[in-house]
């Protein structure tokens, strides 16, 4: 279908207007992060910062230990990604490749857990983790990811199903055990899907706010999201520093997004179109 010139003009106009609406908040955030405090809400709006205060960033970092928060977040995120990849792929392999009693029933149960709002289990989970002495540690944020998540198990299972069973059979004839088949034969085949899982896990953990809010209490253990919230509580009028801090929490996400855009979109799409 080749659109004619008039349609094209309309499409481009609408897309440009949409892009501007989509980008204005970022633009505002970025420019404000370089402005002097009295110009953030100046009337008329100061479009280009004058003067450019690059020092807003260093001041924000001095006021709150964002480097520490970043490190905390990186630790939690890295372990969660590892946990999700290992557990979800193993469980998905089980559901996709092995026959065992109640398999279909269990899979339906797994799918139906996706419907359960987290709030139903939140309070008992909180009780469990705190009676295990894990309150104010990273454990409650990390451990669940080693036990798989329904959505990503579903996604990986769909992917496993596309690989011919002959692969497994050939491996078995050559004397491979089930787990060797899983680890050495099938895991390398599903690398793109694993990348999708890694990115979804990264995004979910990096952006998580309620989890850290409930489980972490000491300031030194804060994640970036929690630290940013605390920063707002303390310096609610210093919008230039707030915007500098907001920009800092977004940068890693943007980098990961542009590096792995393909897998990002693939992950969302697999679920929406084939689900």
């Amino acid at each position: 279908m080749k659109p004619n010139r008039k349609t094209k003009a309309i499409v481009y106009t609408l897309l440009f207007i949409g892009s501007i609406i989509s980008l204005v908040p970022f633009f505002w955030m970025l420019t404000s992060s370089f402005k002097a405090p009295e110009f953030v809400f100046a009337d008329p709006v100061q479009i280009i910062p004058k003067p450019w205060l690059f020092s807003n960033y260093s001041t924000a970092f001095e006021k709150l230990p964002f480097a520490l928060y970043t490190w905390n977040t990186v630790k939690i995120t890295a372990l969660c990604i590892l946990g999700q990849i290992l557990s979800c792929s193993l469980v998905a392999f089980g559901f996709a490749r092995l026959r065992f009693p109640f398999r279909n029933t269990l899979f339906v149960i797994l799918l139906s857990t996706m419907m359960l709002p987290a709030q139903v289990t939140m309070i008992p989970q909180f009780k469990i983790f705190s009676s295990l002495g894990m309150y104010d540690t990273f454990c409650p944020l990390i451990i669940p990811s080693f036990l798989g998540s329904a959505y990503m198990i579903f996604l990986l299972r769909q992917y496993f199903m596309t690989i011919p069973m002959e692969m497994d059979e050939a491996a078995r004839i050559d004397g491979a055990t089930t787990f060797q088949t899983y680890w050495k034969i099938l895991m390398p085949q599903i690398k793109p899907a694993l990348a999708t899982v890694a990115i979804l896990a990264f995004m979910g953990t990096w952006n998580d706010f309620l989890g850290p809010l409930i489980y972490l209490s000491s300031p030194a253990k804060r994640t970036l999201a929690l630290g940013l919230y605390a920063f707002q509580g303390q310096y609610s009028t210093d919008w230039n520093y707030l915007m500098a801090a907001s920009t800092v929490t977004m940068i890693p996400l943007l980098i990961v997004f542009f590096a792995g855009q393909k897998y990002f979109i693939q992950g969302v799409v697999i679920s929406g179109v084939k689900g």
Binding site: T7, S22, F41, V91
Partner: protein, 299 residues
């Protein structure tokens, strides 16, 4: 049923493979569900032993708690406006981007990025945008001679502000529609063109039925998500002004972790679950009338 030795081995391996999930399901989902159901019939501050009070929590919630009624109202209004608006906007965007335009990938990224950014950081940015004096939104509207709006500080405008904000994040749905649109076979359009169909007729009679399963998915996910708004309201308004943005999960959080009324909060959580379930079932049951599955039996 007696299994052969090899099949027994396979079944054992199968259970070993799914054991992480099975363990997690029992310990972190099923157990907590039952526990939370029990707790919802008690009074519990998490430190002492729960005190059984029967249906007292539910009774208070339904007959004697104006905050619950308010939270439910706010959340329902939000869900029933932001989901349809978001659906139309994201579908319209996807249709625009599906026009074989140059630079489609760049546009796609521009529209998608808002959907992936940290909610806390975005809440900060929107807080500034909605500022009545000097906020950029009122500044832009001022150009068109619109009088100053109080946004988050005005009880009448606070909830519409959240709906506006949700429209800005429609990129997530847009990506899914775009994939759906690209799966529509082009022969269908070509055949319709030969028959002299107008663009609207093509959209109405080909595009919509062909992507109805994608619409269905987005509708279900959108409803579930809109019932669980928390971070933005927690960071931006704490439910105010005058409870105008007291979203349901925010109220639940306050009851649980600020007032330590765990029994009450668990009852709220179960009510939320039932409401989400009802909405999902309604959409599911209506879907046979409007969702078209091509050459496959409905799952």
């Amino acid at each position: 049923m007696k299994l052969s030795k090899i099949r027994r081995r396979e079944a054992l391996d199968g259970f070993i493979c799914i054991s992480p999930w099975l363990f997690g399901f029992i310990v972190l989902t099923l157990g907590p569900m039952l526990f939370s159901l029990y707790i919802s019939f008690t009074e519990w501050d998490i430190l002492t032993t729960p005190k059984f009070v029967g249906l007292a929590n539910y009774k208070t919630i339904f007959f004697d708690d104006f905050r619950f009624a308010q939270a439910m109202k706010v959340t329902l209004i939000y869900a029933l406006t932001s989901v349809p608006i978001g659906l139309v906007c994201s579908l319209a965007l996807a249709v625009l981007l599906n026009q074989n335009v140059f630079g489609m990938r760049t546009f796609r990224s521009i529209f998608y990025i808002p959907a992936i950014l940290p909610p806390v950081a975005m809440a900060m940015v929107w807080l500034a945008i909605f500022k009545p004096h000097g906020g950029i939104l009122n500044a832009i509207l001022g150009i068109f001679k619109v009088p100053e709006i109080g946004w988050l500080q005005d009880p009448a405008w606070a909830l519409p502000s959240f709906i506006l904000m949700s429209v800005w994040g429609v990129g997530g749905g847009m990506i899914i529609y775009l994939a759906g649109l690209q799966g529509v076979p082009t022969q269908l359009y070509e055949a319709a063109e030969i028959d002299g169909a107008s663009p609207w007729q093509k959209f109405r009679n080909i595009t919509l039925p062909m992507i109805s399963s994608t619409i269905f998915f987005n509708l279900v996910m959108g409803i579930i998500g809109s019932f669980q708004v928390f971070t933005s309201s927690f960071v931006m308004t704490q439910g105010g002004p005058a409870y105008a943005t007291l979203f349901y999960v925010l109220y639940l959080y306050q009851k649980a972790f600020m007032f330590l009324q765990m029994g009450y909060a668990c009852a709220l959580a179960w009510i939320l679950f039932i409401v989400i379930l009802i909405f999902t079932l309604i959409i599911l049951m209506s879907s046979s009338a409007w969702v078209y599955y091509e050459a496959e039996v409905k799952k």
